[in-house]
Each structure stands twice: as C-alpha cells, then as structure tokens.
Amino acid sequence: MKTADTLLLMLSNFALMSLFAIGGANSVLPEMHRFVVEQQGWLTHQQFAELFGLAQGVPGPNMLVVALIGYHVAGIPGALICTIGLIGPSSLLTYFVYRVWDRFRGSAWRELIQKSAAPVTVGLVLASGYIIARSADHTWAAAAITIAVALLTATTRAHPLIWLVIAAALGAFGLI
C-alpha cells in the first residue's frame, strides 16, 4: 500500500475513534488494537502491548500511545497523523460545546449524561486492560506481574513508574 493511502486510512480511523473516546484514550485501546493488529496486521499483539507499556512510562498524557503506534507504522508523519486524528475531532467538539457551556452547566441533562456514561466508560477501560493483558502475558510469571501491578496500583499510593521499572528489570534479567 502507498504511504499516502496508509496515512489517510490511519487518519480516518483515529478521527472516528476520537468522537467515541468517552473517558479518554483508555476506552479506545481495544478499537486501536482491532484496527492496527487484527485488521491491518501492522503490529503484533506483543508489539502493541509493548508500545502501550512504553507510553505509560514516558511523561505526557497517556493518549500518546497513538504517536508510538503511528511512528511504528509510518515514521514521524504517521505519529503526527495518528495524534492529530485522535485529538482533532474531540477537540473541535469541545471548542464548540465550551462556547455554550454556561447554558448546560447546571442543567439536568449534563448530570444525566455524566452519570450514564460513567459505568460504560469503566467497562471499556477494564476491557482495554484485559485485551492488553492478553497481548502481553504469554507466561504465568507475566500474568502474575500484571495482576500484582493492578492490585498494588489500585490499593497503594506508590508512583506507578516504580512498578514499570521493577517489571522492566525483571524482564531484562529473563525472569518473565
């Protein structure tokens, strides 16, 4: 496929995801996985999980995993296209809604939407976790690390970067 076609395909797919990313990038990870791993075969399951983990360990909003995916597929232009695609349409929507926000701030609709969307978002985020775990965890030791990190992060106030560093060290010494 020509590079321009690839970029256009990435742009249109990520731009559509942008408008359905309720709760942010974590909700659309399964869709990104479907698109780049299952449909296009641009990344393996393992690579997808690695890029996601990498994005968690780098400063910045965690939506920047899309930049890594785009870079892997089509270099810097790919990274730019994917990033702009994922934040462009939602940002435009925010701009227009913010201009009339005063009318809705206290309305019953706002609260209703917020309350109704919350559980759907949680389901999507948990689905993301499950899909990345399935992509990353090929051994029992790997699955044990995922579970341990999930429980430690959910129950302690320790900085998540600590768990990423420990897991990277365990992996480097061949313990996973």
Partner: protein, 187 residues
C-alpha cells in the same frame, strides 16, 4: 446569558499557556490531572478550584482525553484561538517528541535480548496499570446494580465478543441514559 468568552479582564499570553501546559505534560507519568490542578489552580492561579472542577466535569462528558479538552477550554478562555494552539502544543507536542525518542529506542534496540525482556516486562506492567485504573473507577459503583450491569455489558461486548467500538458505545450510552432517566421517573 454570559457565554464563557475569552476573558478580557484576565489575559494569559499564548507563550505562558504553552509553557504552563508543557510543564504539566512533562511532570505527569500516566495521568497528568493532579499536575494540571497543581499548576493551574495552586501555582499560577489561572483558575479557582471550582472553575477547575467545572472544566474537568465538562471534559469528562465529552469524548477525547480529558486533559486535552481542559487545555482547549483554558487556552480559548485566556487567549482565544491562538491560546488553544499554544496550550495544545505544550501539552501534546512537547511530550510527543520525548515519546518518539523512546519509540526510536524501541524500534532500534527492541530485538536485543535484554532490551526485549525489559519491554516485555513493561508491557505486562502497563496492562496492570490500565486494569488498576478501571478498578479504581469501578470502586465507587460497587453495589450499584444498574452501574455494574453496564460495566459488564461494555466489558463483554468489547473484550469478549470484540465488537467494534462505535456501535457498542452508541447503543450502551443511549441505553444507559434511558434506563437512568426511567429509574428517576419512577422515584
């Protein structure tokens, strides 16, 4: 009716917006919201705590990363459209290059056995971090039967059946709104 137009009484230059959002972006790992609050409310006092909470709740009901949505509103309010681009440039396109740097390392050294092992470890831990995020979000809804049903529906549709996101979100969001409104009507 007052619209939240760019505030003439309080101007913040695009450069300040750029630097402020860049500082938020590079101090936050994984989640940047706590740093956003510290920078905008406590340190630079661009927003009152109530204004910050209001913008975060707006960011939540709209699609897209919440902090990106907040940066759009703050940029526009204090410096109009140039402010939006300045805030976005700081928040997204400063860390963008750091991320790309790591992407290059991954692409170049990813096959070296020890590095490969380290990336495998990072992948496992990364999965754990998202699961933790989901668990923390689910915690306050525990015991709320309606919420738990919708959590389960979303999870099963996406993770088990691997259905596409767009129809799943459309159907579940509408269903959730209808059920919530109906339950209220009964009370």
């Amino acid at each position: 009716m007052t619209l939240p137009a760019p505030d003439p009484a309080r101007r913040i230059t695009p450069l300040e917006l750029f630097l402020g959002f860049a500082s938020i972006a590079i101090s936050g790992f994984g989640g940047v919201m706590p740093f956003a609050r510290r920078m905008m409310v406590e340190r630079r006092q661009w927003l009152t705590p109530a204004e910050f909470t209001d913008l975060v709740s707006l960011g939540q009901i709209l699609p897209g990363p919440n902090i990106v949505n907040v940066s759009i509103c703050v940029g526009w309010r204090f410096a109009g459209v140039p402010g939006i681009f300045a805030a976005l440039a700081g928040l997204v396109f400063v860390p963008f290059w750091i991320v790309i740097g790591f992407g290059i390392i991954h692409a170049t050294f990813g096959e070296v056995p020890r590095v490969q092992g380290a990336f495998a470890g990072i992948a496992c831990a990364g999965a754990g971090l998202v699961i933790a995020t989901g668990l923390k979000m689910a915690w306050p809804m525990l015991g709320n039967v309606q919420a738990m049903v919708f959590i389960a529906l979303g999870f099963v549709a996406i993770a088990v059946f691997r259905w596409p996101l767009v129809p799943v979100v459309l159907v579940l969001a509408v269903l959730s709104i209808v059920v919530t409104a109906w339950m209220r009507g009964r009370r």
